[in-house]
Symmetry: D2
Subunit: 303 residues, 4 copies
C-alpha cells in the first residue's frame, strides 16, 4: 500500500471520531477552531510529503514546538541542558508544581511546561533571540517563509500565563533559571503560538527520522542525540498518557493542545496529524486514533 | 511574683540558649543581626508594659505582621476572607506549593505565606493602601510614630521574592487573587519589613488579650472574632511546629523569621520575645524556650 | 445558669440539626444506629454529672478511646512514645499513608489511625493486655462494671481492617512497630469497639480537667502531661477539621466516627456529646454544633 | 560482527564497572552474592544462545519474573487485567504508596510492586497455582527442568515483606485484590525467588522478540499483545529510571534487584545480562552499561 492509499484508509477509519473530545478553551484564540477539522501528512526521508484532509491548513502547534526547541538547544550545547532538566516521565499533569517542589526545581523532562521553560531559558542563553532562531530553522527546513507566530495566540497565552509564571518563578527561586522570568516567558509563549500545517510540521521534523541529518545533508544532531530525542518523545511526549500511548501506538510522538501530534518512525518517515478535539489528558482523540490505525495497518510500531 | 521578677527569672533561665540556632540568612538584611540579642516584654490589659533585655530595640517582625493584617482585614469584612483562605494547619513548610495545588489555590490558613498573600490581597481591596493602613494602626495602638518599614529589608525581600511570586501567580491562575501580582507583593513585602521592638509588638497586640477591644476602648473585632484569631494562632502560628509549640508552651502565638514571637494570654496579657537564632522550623530557640519557662512558672497555659 | 439549664438550652438549640449528616456506614454494626439519637453530659471536677437526651445510652466511642489509651501509655512511660509518634496536625485524612511515607513511618500524631496503632503497640509492650488494661481503667474511673467491648463491632472492624493492616505493616517495614501486626491490631480494633454512654465518657475523662488527678485523688499524669494531652486534642483531635473546630468551638476535643465528641474545659469540667450524623470530615454535626453553642453561651472557650 | 565477538567486546568494555554499585542487601539471601559476577547471553529467534562470562550461572531473577507473569496473565485474559492496573510510568519509587493512594488503589503499571501483586492476584484467579504455572512455562520454554524457586530467598522475602503486605492490604481496602493477602503474597514472593541463568532468561523471553510466538511455533500472545508488553517494558521496566534507560539504551527492558536485566530487540533477539552491583535506582551498573555499549556497537536501539 502506498502512502496516499494508507492515508486515505486511515482517514476513512477515524472519520467517526472527528469532532469528539473537547477543543482546548483555556485561551479564546484556541477555542474558536472548527472541531471538525482533520488533516494528516507523511514526510519521507527524501523530502516527499503526502497528505489527506486539511493537511495544508495551519493550526496552533503549541507543545509540538518543544521538540524543535529541544533539538536546537542540544545542537548548540549537548550537555549543559541535562543538568537543569531530567529525562523521566513525570507521572503528574503537565503544569503541576508538586514534583518540581519535591525535586528542588529541576523539572522531570523537557516536555512538561516547566521543562520546556528551562529549555527556552537555555536557548535564550545560547541563541539570544530564541524564538527568532526557532522560526529561522523551521522556515529553512520547510522552505516556507510564511511560517510565523500567531500574535493573538501569544498575547492570549501571556494574558492567561499565571501558571507558567508561577512555574518560572518557582524554578528561579531554586536558581534553575538564568534569565529574567519575563524574557523567558516571552519567548516561551511566542514559541507556543507557532502556526504551521501538518505538511510543514512533518517536513521540519524529518531530521529525527534521518538520525539527525537535515534536509540539505548537514548534520544538526549526532546520531545518538537524535535517537535520544526520539526516546524522550516516547517516554514523555504525550503528557500524562505517554505509557498508554506507547502501548497503543508504539511510536515516539509529541502532542500539543492545539490538537496536533507529531510522530517519528526512525529511518522511515515522520507523520503529523491534526484534529482539535482532545481527550482528558490533552491529546487529540482522532489524531491518536489515526496513528493507532496507521501502525496497525503497517506494523511499523517500533516494538 | 510580679511581672518584672518573672521576666528577670525567665531571662536568667534561657540565657544559655541565646546565640544557639541559626540566624535567618535568606536575605542579607536579616543575616547581619547580632545573634546574641534577646529581649522580652509583657503588656498588661491596662497598657502597662514590662521588659527585660533588649525589649526596646527594633527588630524585623516579619511574619508577626500577619496577625495584624489578618485582624485589620477581618475588622473590615469578617466573612469574605474565609472563602479565599482556610483555617487548617498545613502540615507542610510555610512556603510550600504542594497543598495549594491539591486544594485548587486556596491556602490552608492565613499564616502560611500563600495565605498571608491572600489576606494582603483582600486588604488592598478593602483599604487601598494596605501597608499604609497597617502602619497607621500600629502607630495608633502604640502611640509610637517612629514605627516604620525597613526599606532595605523590603527591597531585599523583593529581590529574593521568586518563591512568593510563584505562590501569588499560582493562586491567581486559580482566580484566587483579585489584584495584580506586583501590587499585592509590594504590600506583602513591605509589611514583612516592619521594624518594631518587643514593647511595641506586645502593646499593639493587646486587643487580642482584651477580646477585641482597642487601647482606647473602641472595639476592633467582636469578642468571637478575637477568640478566633487566637485559635488560628494556636493551630497555625508557629509554622510546621504548631502542634509541638502548643504541646510545650500552650499559648496562641505567632513567630517570625526575624526571631520574634508574639504570644497571647487571653484576658491577662500579651508577650513578645525576640532572639534571632532559629530552630529548623524557623522559630526562635531562646524565644520559644522563654515562653515555655514562662508558662511553667506561672501555670498560665490555656490548657 | 446552672449546668442542667445550660444543657436543656443547648439541646433545644441544636434540635434541628439532629438527623443531619451521614451515619458512618463503613461497618454494618455502626450503620444500624438511629440517626435521631442525641445525648450530652457534663461532668464537673467533683464527680457530679448532668445530662440531657440519651446521655445514659451506650454508643460506639471509636476514636475517643484514643485519648484514654494515650493517657495510659504516657502514665506508664512518659518519654519513649514520642520517639515513635509526632505531635503535629497531619493536614491529611485520618487514614492516609502519604505523610507516613514522606516521614519514614513515624505518624504525625497519636490521634490519626497510624499514630493510635503506635500507641497501642507501646501499651501492649507496657501493659501486656492493652485493651484489658484500658477496660479496667474506664470501669474504675466510672465505677461502672458494665462497660465493655462490642464484639460485633470489633469483628466488623477486623473484617474491614485492610486499611489499618496496611498502615501497621507499613510502619513495621520502617521498624516502627515492635509487636506482630495481628497482636497490635487485635487490641486496636477492640479498643475502637468500646461501648460507653456520654455520662461514662465524661466521667472517665475528668482527670484531664483536673490536670492529671484521678477521681480518688491519685495522680495519673503530671500536671504538665495532662496539659499536653489537652494541647494535642486541640490541634489534632477532630481529624482534618482541627483548625476549624478550634476556631468555632475553642476547646480541646476528640471525636469518633460513632458520633461522639469528648471536650475538656481545663479546671472546670468535661463534656461528652453524641449524635451519629457526621459531616464530611467525620465529626458529629449536632455534636459540634452543641459544643459551639455551649461555648458561646458560657464564654468558656480557652481563647 | 557475530554475536560471540560482540559479547566478548562488550564484556571487555564494561569490565572496569563490574563490582561497582551496591549489591542489594535488604534480604540476607541476596547480600551474599559475589559482587564481581558478570554474565551476558543473547538468544536469537531460532533458539540459538550465545554467552559470555557467567552466563550459565543461576541468579535471583527477582522482578524480571514480572514480565513472565504479566505475559501469562494476558495470555489467559487479555482485557480484565487492565481494569485493575494502569500502563503509565509511576514517577515514584517502585514500592511507594503515594500514587496508590491518590489513584484509589489502582497501581500505575504492572512492574512496580503493587502492580505485580495485582497481576499475581489475577493469575491466581486464572491459573490457581500461579507460581507453579509460571514454573511450568519457564521449564517448557527453556527445556530446563532444573529451574526452580530458591526457598531461602522466598522465606527471606516473606520475613521482610511488611512493605509488600502493606501494599496488598491497601489495594484490598479499595477492593482491588480478589484473593486473600497471604495467598497472593505467597505466590508473589515465590515468583520473586526464581533462580535462573542469563541463558535461561534470554531463551524463555524469545516470544517477546517473535511477536508472541513460542519456541514450538504456538502463539502465546497476539502480535499486538507482545508489542504492548515491549512498550510497557520500555516505559516502566527499569524502575524510576525508565526515561533515562530509554535515553541511554533505547530498548524495552526489565531489571531486577538481583542484578539481572532482560532486554528485547523486536524481531531480532533477546538479551539477558547479570551483574549484582546496583545503582541508586536499583538497576545493575555493569548490566545497563553493557546494554548501552551493545546498542552503540550495533545501532540496534529501537529509536
Amino acid at each position: 500500500m502506498d502512502y496516499q492509499t494508507l492515508l486515505d484508509n486511515v482517514a476513512a477509519e477515524v472519520a467517526p471520531l472527528i469532532g469528539t473530545g473537547n477543543v482546548a478553551d483555556y485561551i479564546p484564540a484556541l477555542a474558536g477552531v472548527d472541531p471538525m477539522s482533520f488533516g494528516m501528512a507523511i514526510a519521507d526521508l527524501d523530502g516527499g510529503v503526502h497528505g489527506v484532509g486539511q493537511w495544508r491548513q495551519a493550526f496552533s502547534v503549541q507543545s509540538i514546538s518543544k521538540v524543535f526547541s529541544l533539538a536546537m538547544t542540544l545542537s548548540r550545547d549537548g550537555q549543559t541542558l541535562w543538568k537543569s532538566v531530567g529525562r523521566e516521565p513525570s507521572g503528574n499533569p503537565f503544569n503541576s508544581l508538586v514534583q518540581l517542589e519535591a525535586e528542588n526545581g529541576v523539572p522531570r523532562n523537557p516536555f512538561i511546561n516547566a521543562g520546556a521553560i528551562v529549555v527556552t531559558d537555555h536557548l535564550v542563553e545560547l541563541a539570544g533571540d530564541a524564538s527568532g532562531a526557532l522560526l529561522d530553522f523551521l522556515r529553512s527546513e520547510t522552505e516556507e517563509d510564511t511560517i510565523g507566530f500567531d500574535a493573538d495566540v501569544a498575547a492570549s497565552e501571556a494574558a492567561h500565563g499565571d501558571r507558567n509564571a508561577s512555574l518560572a518563578h518557582f524554578m528561579r527561586s531554586y536558581g534553575n533559571l538564568r534569565n529574567p522570568v519575563p524574557t523567558v516567558l516571552e519567548h516561551y509563549f511566542r514559541q507556543c503560538s507557532l502556526s504551521m500545517s501538518c505538511e510543514e510540521v512533518a517536513l521540519a521534523a524529518t531530521f529525527l527520522a534521518r538520525h539527525g541529518v537535515l534536509r540539505d545533508g548537514r548534520r544538526l544532531l549526532t546520531r545518538s542525540e537524535a535517537k535520544q530525542i526520539n526516546a524522550v518523545m516516547l517516554t514523555c511526549g504525550t503528557y500524562d498518557a505517554a505509557g498508554d500511548f506507547a502501548y497503543r501506538v508504539g511510536l515516539p510522538a509529541k502532542s500539543g493542545v492545539g490538537g496536533g501530534i507529531l510522530a517519528v518512525i526512525p529511518q522511515r518517515c515522520t507523520i503529523c496529524v491534526w484534529s482539535p478535539g482532545l481527550d482528558v489528558q490533552g491529546n487529540s482523540v482522532a489524531g491518536a486514533a489515526a496513528l493507532d490505525v496507521f501502525t496497525t495497518m503497517t506494523g511499523w510500531s517500533i516494538f
